[in-house]
Amino acid sequence: MATPAAQLTRKDFTSNQTVRWCPGCGDYSILANIQRIMPELGMSPEKVVFVSGIGCSSRFPYYMDTYGFHTIHGRAPAFATGIKASNPDLSVWVVTGDGDGLAIGGNHLLHIIRRNVDVNILLFNNRVYGLTKGQYSPTSRIGMKTKSTPLGSIDHPIDPLSFALGAAATFVARTVDVDAEHMRYVFRRAQEHRGTSFIEILQNCPVFNDEEWDELEDKKQRIDAGLRLQHGQPLVTGSEGRRRGIRIDSGVPAVIDLGDGSDISTADIAVHNEHHHSPAYAFALASMARPNFPLPLGVFRAVESPTYDGMLEQQMEQAMELRGAGNLRNLLHTGETWTVK
């Protein structure tokens, strides 16, 4: 029978199916780190369900030796909600992409987040449609030339984290496909959070949008291009001599040059706090985009709020307490009845 969770390894979460992503795809690293973190989190394979929609990222469940459901385009959040509502003991993970999650599935993503269903959502953002061979996506930059936009995209892109925060997400984080340790840290935090955990993973598509995240993936560049968020620590980043801090004034972030060795306390640099009740602070962080700002990575927001599945269970228990377990005969005989002899 099942091996005790403590003795499980990555292999116990790896299915026998051949992984079929393109060579060099960022998805490999995400898969490997999910498979690695599962035993570390004490998960049992039978308690885990991976749910996906359609797209390159959505092949993910086939490669996990857990329960898995590869559903239809954009609707994975709705399937996941049904699974979690049906059995709250399951650990439910939604795998989606920028097209699946934010184009065709934008509505469902909005609603699973606002309901705060206790699931973990991994949105692989490569800013392009891969499986349909290279069209622009809702996160593609303005001007991006693709097969469907030969003159350049004229759609204003959406930032996945701003979207999630707009729906009052209780846990929001960003990580990057090449940084194994950081990814696992964020996955762990997501699993520990009760409620919807929304994670944007910057992911490279070597075939249709190569090097989109180069400055965040490259070890040298990312020191200046990124900003590692740490709860209780000031928002400071940059290599020696190019240190910069973030000041947030009336909800608007500004880059403050600390290269001359200025004292961060006198420069009024913001101190990261994951637990702000208002999402406004995290929204300010999410508005920080390249190239004007270093791109924040880490946990933007983690606040406690009742979950949909938790409240659903509670309502059921209350209904049982209030009215006693339902009796079918009594139900069919409620109200006016009459007997013919």
Partner: protein
């Protein structure tokens, strides 16, 4: 005072009509309840506008409720009411054409003032000339009601709102009804002055009926001969909701209902949402797609899953339903059909979704389709749908329509012990588990639910390898799986009892019906047979698969007629499947068939010499 007469009648049909705000549905509902308690058989038809409150007094805002009751069996709400109660000129204008010639028209004469007549687009008062054709009873209802409630401490608007109960009181006197059940309901429903006002209005109306010389007779419709048992009034949508509850109880599984509000299906969600104490979970989703998707997710996780909708919603759900076909998960989809296409007539009846239910998904996507044929039948139909869903691991579509959804009939409450207890097969052993290994008899795959150790597996919408369930693009495997899914659904025929012909086993004319046309067809065929005509009928509950003996039955008749509230869907299926000359009888007015319409068509077919 002249002596009043008590007249015995075999059957009566009454239609209550007024403005949407006049309380016609409540009035009709209460009259139905007291009629049932009096032991009559009955059938009702509410008819209300799609607009919640159209401008008061306008033609668009008229709401109606028809009830047909008798001392014999009743199959329809009747083609023509014998009595029309019109609260205002607009109600009169939209309904008078239906009143039986010589029938009784009861109007609130206080409402026939200049402005109200103008709102109903009458140039002059139509009542005087109606006296020639109908027994017109003009009553100053507004004044009578105000007088009766003069001691009540309420504003005149609230007082006037009680006049439907004043009228109900009059009708209770006219048809020898007991006030008590309605009084009990009013006491439970309202408080304070409003309760007193409504109670007083009801009693005053009754007393007025007893004393006024304008109403010389009251009537008695003796109790019908009805099979013994305990009965209640039920609408189709309530019957569906209770059928859902019953399935959960009898199968001992948690029920999950995902739904999105849509007329005329929302009442199923409302009703089921009240039964959390049965362990039922309901979710109002963000849209139709999510409602269906969440239900499929719940089915994967082991719940008895159901989603309910109407035509436009079914169109949206189809991609998700197709996944349930491919993933072979149990799911019940309830479609309360309504007038279309597009938004159409949301509150009116149509049987327009049969092709969509059968063929509305990409590729070959076989799925059982069953149809309820009366309000009470909805209970048994959905129960059967759940049994098929779990036995064969398949989504099942249940068709109803707005006529069944809101219509009522007396329903013999089933004995719980008589309902089949369905045991769902236990999860398979982990040893050599394969998610798509089929049961040799039913071809169903196992229901392996997340949380069960050793049965971890992946399913999805991609082409699936036989037995293992792995993704496969193997051409032969794809073809085999296509046929397996098809054979599985076709094999359900083993669970379908032989279709019974009502009438001769062979002959000139067979009427084939499905769904809510049963009542009208039954009455028309009964009448025609009583007149010696060679006409029989069958009524289909199971449309996919068809009952095994349907082809043989069809072959025994010269003419086959299919009355349908669409432009002809079932005849195409019958022709394609059985190569028989099935003839269309179509109606798409948003109204059910009248008995007379079907009877006339029967006469035309069986008396061809009149066609010249």
């Amino acid at each position: 005072m002249a002596e009043k007469q008590l007249v015995e009648l075999e059957e009566v049909a009454i239609r209550f009509t007024g403005d949407s705000g006049d309380g016609m549905q409540v009035t009709g509902g209460k009259f139905s309840e007291s009629t049932m308690l009096a032991g009559n058989d009955l059938s009702t038809l509410p008819d209300y506008p799609a607009e919640i409150r159209a401008p008061a007094g306008t033609l668009a805002g008229v709401s109606g409720f028809q009830i047909h009751f008798a001392s014999r069996n009743v199959h329809t709400p009747a083609d023509q009411p014998d009595v029309l109660v019109a609260f205002n000129p607009a109600a009169l204008k939209t309904n008078i054409a239906d009143l039986r010639p010589g029938g009784t028209l009861i109007v609130n004469q206080d409402a026939f003032k200049k402005r109200a007549l103008a709102r109903a687009e009458y140039e002059e008062n139509p009542l005087p000339e109606l006296h020639d054709r109908f027994n017109v009873v003009e009553l100053p209802l507004t004044q009578l009601n105000r007088k009766a409630l003069e001691d009540i401490d309420l504003g005149s608007r609230d007082i006037d709102r009680c006049k439907n109960f004043f009228v109900l009181g009059i009708m209770y006197w006219m048809y020898s009804r007991d006030l008590e059940p309605t009084q009990r309901w009013l006491r439970g429903r309202f408080r304070g002055e409003v309760r007193e006002a409504n109670l007083l209005a009801l009693e005053a109306g009754h007393a007025y009926g007893e004393t006024t010389e304008l109403l010389p007779s009251s009537y008695q419709v003796p109790a019908a001969k009805i099979p013994p048992g305990t009965y209640r009034n039920i609408t189709g949508n309530t019957a569906f909701a209770w059928g859902i509850v019953a399935a959960g109880v009898q199968m001992d599984r948690q029920v999950f209902l995902g739904a999105y509000p849509i007329t005329p299906a929302s009442d199923i969600l409302h009703e089921v949402a009240r039964y959390g104490h049965f362990g039922i979970k309901t979710m109002q989703a963000e849209d139709e797609i999510a409602a269906c998707s969440a239900a499929i997710g719940a089915a994967f996780a082991g719940s008895l899953a159901v989603t309910c909708t109407s035509g436009p919603g079914l169109a949206l759900k189809q991609e998700a339903i197709n996944l349930a076909v491919m993933a072979e998960l149990p799911l019940v989809i309830v479609d309360i059909q309504r007038g279309g296409p597009s938004t159409g007539m949301p509150t009116k009846v149509e049987q327009g979704d049969l092709p969509m239910a059968l063929y509305g998904r990409n590729s070959d996507s076989p799925m059982p389709v069953i149809a309820a044929s009366s309000p009470g039948d909805c209970f048994h139909t959905i129960f059967e749908a759940f049994r098929w869903a779990v036995k064969y691991m398949t989504p099942v579509i249940v068709l109803s329509d707005s006529y069944l959804a809101n219509g009522t009939e007396p329903w013999l409450i089933p004995d719980i012990e008589s309902l089949p207890r369905v045991s769902i097969p236990p999860p398979p052993e982990p040893e050599n588990f394969q998610p798509y290994r089929r049961d040799a008899k039913t071809l169903a795959r196992p229901w392996a639910v997340p949380g069960t150790p050793g049965l971890e597996h992946r399913i999805g919408g991609l082409s699936t390898e036989e037995n293992t369930g792995n993704v496969s693009y193997d051409p032969d495997n794809n073809e085999r799986m296509m046929h397996l899914r098809d054979q599985k659904v076709a094999g359900i025929v083993a669970d379908i009892p032989p279709l019974e012909v009502v009438g001769n086993e062979q002959g000139e004319l067979l009427i084939v019906g499905w769904g809510s046309t049963r009542g009208a067809i039954t009455s028309a065929v009964e009448a025609a047979r009583a007149d010696g005509l060679d006409v029989s009928r069958v009524h289909l509950r199971h449309i996919n698969p068809f009952p095994a003996n349907l082809g043989e039955i069809l072959g025994n008749f010269r003419h086959i007629l299919v009355p349908e509230i669409n432009l002809g869907h079932l005849p195409r299926l019958l022709r394609a499947e059985f190569l028989v000359p099935a003839e269309v009888m179509s109606k798409t007015q948003g109204k059910p068939f009248k008995v007379g319409e079907i009877r006339q068509r029967i006469d035309e077919i069986l008396s061809p010499e009149d066609d010249s």
